[in-house]
């Protein structure tokens, strides 16, 4: 097996045993980016010099056996919504072209303290708004399993990088499914922690009551390792939780024997592809054979989660994106007779179509006369969704369902129909609104395209989600399947 094909945990052992150096490992991944980067378009920026410098520092740390951490020397990709000091960070938007943040996100600081190696900034839908990566302000990402298909979104570049061997692991962000859905569509593991588990400081904001950063990895154990490194309270984010962070690896292999797992009947949505449904039902049966008791549960307000999300998220976005005015940073349009006109020209040229659509939708929902009917009603529906989860988790330890109702679809298939695009997130959105955590992991292939199983656990029970996911993974071989792009280079 080539180095770029391996997992964090494998590579950590090899680094500690001095079997390989971080520079060798980093060069292997950079070489793979050179081979397939033009095909996937996973990166907006490859930070080659920075990566090699960090790799040399990691090797020094490994050599002297000084503060060696699980991520020391491991090459990781960062979604472009994460600020890295002095490294161009654009959130996939032309309005932030050339922006170099004066500070780093807390998750970036934490990975740096671990001695991780930063490969670069991954492509994404502009301001993380999208489910296919086709809303990138620069260029779309191609799925490493089939280059004419989307990788999902909005963390599609991070997903494609991990699935093609262009990174060992990556960070993404998830507001309505943006880690889990691309993970499902590219055959990797994507974990959205509970809101508040990971600091959002330095994450370029989309919807501040929903956004959460999380790991995208080749397997569940790697997901636990990466989450461990980034989770925990941060005084710079007052919405980050002071709850203690458990040892996520310690309880990983306890199995599901005696656990109660619920299957929300509403999650087998209309329009779900038969192959996806079959895979999910097989996965549920397998967990039952592993000793879990399975019961059907109901989350009765699931059908109004999507409409509530498409009020709440755009409303918050319209407020968050007001800061892009071309004055303090980013793109500034020429012309305009006064400041207001310059704002309008800057934002007209700087934002892409989907971002404008959501700014207008959010502004409309918050505007005088419509606030009660849309925004307030959506916030009340959010309460109903939170209560649905609370009731379900009185009976079961975790919930099982598909991550996406379909496998990866062809590029261009849904770009003309915003509503069809929004429906991709129909079974990932409730976890964001309900403030619970959810992990997607590979559970099969349909005509060579990956299918994702979603495990949802109560708020701050990331340990439970990981335990169920790990039990499934160790009983199956699905996570060992590699995309043609990753395999072909072997």
């Amino acid at each position: 097996m080539r180095l770029f094909q391996r997992t964090i945990r494998d590579l950590h052992q090899m680094l500690v045993d001095r079997e390989i150096s971080s520079v060798e490992l980093t060069e292997s991944v950079l070489e793979q980016i050179g081979h397939v980067g033009d095909q996937t378009k996973a990166y907006l920026l490859v930070t080659r010099e920075l990566a090699l410098k960090q790799a040399r520092a990691a090797d020094e740390r490994l050599r002297s056996q000084r503060d060696v951490r699980p991520l020391t020397g491991i090459p990781i990709a960062l979604k472009d919504v994460l600020c890295v000091k002095d490294v161009t960070s654009t959130a996939g938007s032309k309005i932030l072209k050339g922006f170099t943040p004066p500070y780093s996100a807390t998750v970036v600081d934490r990975l740096e303290a671990e001695g991780a190696v930063f490969l670069g900034k991954t492509n994404c839908d502009e301001f993380a708004m999208g489910s296919s990566n086709e809303n990138s302000g620069y260029y779309p990402v191609h799925n490493p399993w089939a280059l004419d298909r989307v990788p999902g979104g909005s963390s599609g570049g991070s997903a494609a990088a991990v699935a093609s061997g262009e990174a060992i692991a990556a960070l993404g962000s998830d507001t309505g499914g943006s880690i889990r859905q691309p993970a499902a569509l590219t055959g990797i593991v994507g974990f959205k922690p509970t809101y508040g588990r990971v600091s959002r400081y330095g994450l370029i904001a989309f919807a501040s009551s929903l956004d959460q950063i999380g790991p995208m990895t080749r397997d569940v154990a790697d997901s636990a390792v990466l989450l461990q490194a980034i989770a925990g309270h941060d005084r710079r984010d007052s919405t980050s939780s002071p709850k203690p962070v458990p040892d996520y690896l310690a309880g990983l292999d306890q199995g599901v024997k005696g656990m109660r797992l619920g299957v929300p009947k509403e999650y087998f949505v209309a329009g779900m592809e038969p192959a996806v449904e079959q895979s999910i039902r097989d996965a549920i049966r397998l967990l039952e054979q592993q000793g879990a008791s399975i019961e059907e549960v109901s989350l009765p307000h699931s059908d109004v989660a999507l409409p509530a999300y498409y009020i709440i998220a755009p409303a918050e976005a319209s407020s968050n994106l007001a800061r892009y005015d071309g004055v303090r940073y980013g793109y500034q349009a020429e012309g305009g007779r006064n400041l207001i006109e310059q704002y309008m020209l800057t934002r007209q040229a700087g934002f892409g179509a989907e971002v404008k659509r959501r700014i207008m939708l959010g502004t409309y929902a918050l505007s005088s006369g419509y606030y009660d009917a849309y925004y307030l009603q959506a916030q009340k529906v959010r309460t109903l969704i939170i209560d649905d989860f609370k009731r379900a988790f009185e009976k079961v330890d975790a919930l099982l369902g598909a991550t996406s109702p379909t496998v990866a679809f062809p590029l261009g298939a849904k770009t003309q129909d915003p509503v069809a695009m929004y429906l991709n997130d129909i079974i990932t959105i409730p976890a964001n609104l309900g403030n619970v955590c959810g992990i997607s992991l590979p559970c099969g292939l349909a005509d060579g395209l990956p299918i994702g199983l979603q495990v949802i656990a109560p708020g701050f029970r990331e340990d439970t989600a990981l335990r169920v996911a790990y039990a499934f993974e160790t009983a199956t071989e699905f996570h060992k399947a590699r995309s043609p792009l990753m395999g072909a280079a072997a």
């Binding site: 303090r328 500034q332 934002r347 007209q348 700014i359 009917a373 959010r382 309460t383």
Partner: protein, 100 residues
């Protein structure tokens, strides 16, 4: 609670764009009007849920009023804060006049 109007007009689209400080071309007005109408049509489903006795959730966490010690700390230097400015004068961001 008043029922939202079912059909969004071009004038409303222009008004919303103005509120959001978004320049918008005549073509875009029509395109966004039709797309937003369609999206709002799907969002009407929100009214299926009975929320007459349900409080709104504005924020998902239990923590309230997070305070830190009132202590002086260092912050971003002016030069650092200004270095991405498209247009500056001395240690200020430079903008156009608000009125012509």
């Amino acid at each position: 609670m008043s029922e939202p109007e079912s059909e969004l007009s071009s004038r409303e689209v222009e008004h919303v764009a103005r509120l959001a400080r978004l320049g918008i071309s005549p073509d875009e007005v029509l395109r966004y009007r039709d797309q937003l109408r369609n999206i709002l049509h799907h969002i009407e489903a929100l009214n299926r849920a009975d929320t007459s006795k349900v409080p709104a959730t504005a924020h998902p966490l239990d923590e309230r009023n997070v305070m830190r010690e009132d202590r002086r700390e260092s912050c971003l230097e002016a030069e650092e804060a200004l270095r991405n400015a498209p247009s500056r004068e001395g240690s200020y961001f430079k903008v156009k006049a608000i009125q012509e």
